[in-house]
Symmetry: C2
Subunit: 202 residues, 2 copies
């Protein structure tokens, strides 16, 4: 047996394990989006994946391990297939992401329900969402500060406020959209927000 043969023989089970891991993540994504983390059980996820709960626990030793992996998986999903359109503005990148996420089934449902559930007692997702909000507020504050330096932010508008409010507005609009998809246009409403906090193009 050559070194190459050994590698081939090993790649089989590795690829299979990776595939099964992904199947479980996909299933957990669907179950948590439909029932929440609190309402969805490991048995629901195993049923959705068509495997036993024992097999599931081999890949993710606990429900909270599975949750953290699903949150990371969701981050990848929302980033992938959403390439930046080259030298686009901050506003355009936000709108593009909003439109992109609406097209991925369950991704906004999952985010909305897990985020709100994370405020409940001893929820394993709490740190993830707390840190996510901190990171987003900081990142958007930098973007609004840059716009301010270019003279594009409306005088009197504070960059940190604009950042925190953009995050809050986006989350709140998504919730309203989930309950009334024909009435709420998230991307259009976010565009209008930028028109209010930024100065009109000269």
């Amino acid at each position: 047996m050559t070194t190459k043969d050994t590698a081939s023989a090993k790649r089989g089970p590795y690829a299979k394990a990776k595939e099964k891991r992904r199947l479980i993540l996909d299933s957990a994504h669907a179950v948590f989006a439909a029932k929440g983390y609190l309402g969805g059980s490991l048995q629901d996820v195993a049923n959705q994946a068509g495997i036993s709960q024992t097999s599931l626990l081999h890949y993710f030793p606990s429900k909270s391990d599975l949750l953290m992996a699903v949150l990371e998986w969701r981050d990848e999903l929302t980033k992938s297939a959403n390439p930046s359109a080259g030298e686009e503005s901050f506003e355009d990148a936000v709108i593009r992401t909003a439109l992109h996420n609406e097209k991925i089934p369950g991704v906004i449902e999952l985010y909305t329900v897990l985020c709100a559930e994370s405020i409940t007692n001893a929820h394993p997702g709490r740190d993830y969402f707390t840190e996510r909000f901190e990171r987003l507020r900081e990142s958007y504050t930098r973007s609004f500060s840059a716009l301010a330096q270019e003279g594009k932010l409306r005088p009197g508008v504070d960059s940190a406020w604009a950042a925190m409010s953009l995050v809050a507005l986006w989350d709140g609009l998504q919730t309203q959209w989930l309950l009334a998809p024909d009435t709420i246009d998230v991307a259009k409403a976010l565009r209008a927000y930028f028109e209010v906090v930024l100065l009109p193009e000269a």
Copy 2:
């Protein structure tokens, strides 16, 4: 036995039943705020109230009946002890309500988690939240339209957008506040929103 005596004799059990109903609602409010509707069980509520589950089911025949009663109870809680300060502006009424709600333990937690859970499959609170958002958007649109007619709305700002965005912003800020109460000041951020969408006082 006079009519008066009969009334007194009857008042006893009636008042007792009313008291127990309220005890159950208070308990369910605490349990759902801490664990969500999906995560909190009827047994949790019965334990919190110090009664049997059978006794609880005598008052609320199902978990979804209890949920609807808790949502109504929450509406009363947030309205009571929050009298309007006479002829106050729309903006001041919003800020007053935001500050008031922050002081009622669990009321924002309950709202945030139940609202997000209501988007999950077949959740009994879905209609309540869908209608609540419709009603709020309509009511706030009327308030912003009135401000527009008084020449107080910034030109270019649409009343319906300002209303939908105020609801969304408020909800989103509350979530961030629950995760970072020392960083987020909901009332201050809402005040800044009004400063951006309204014209400065002449």
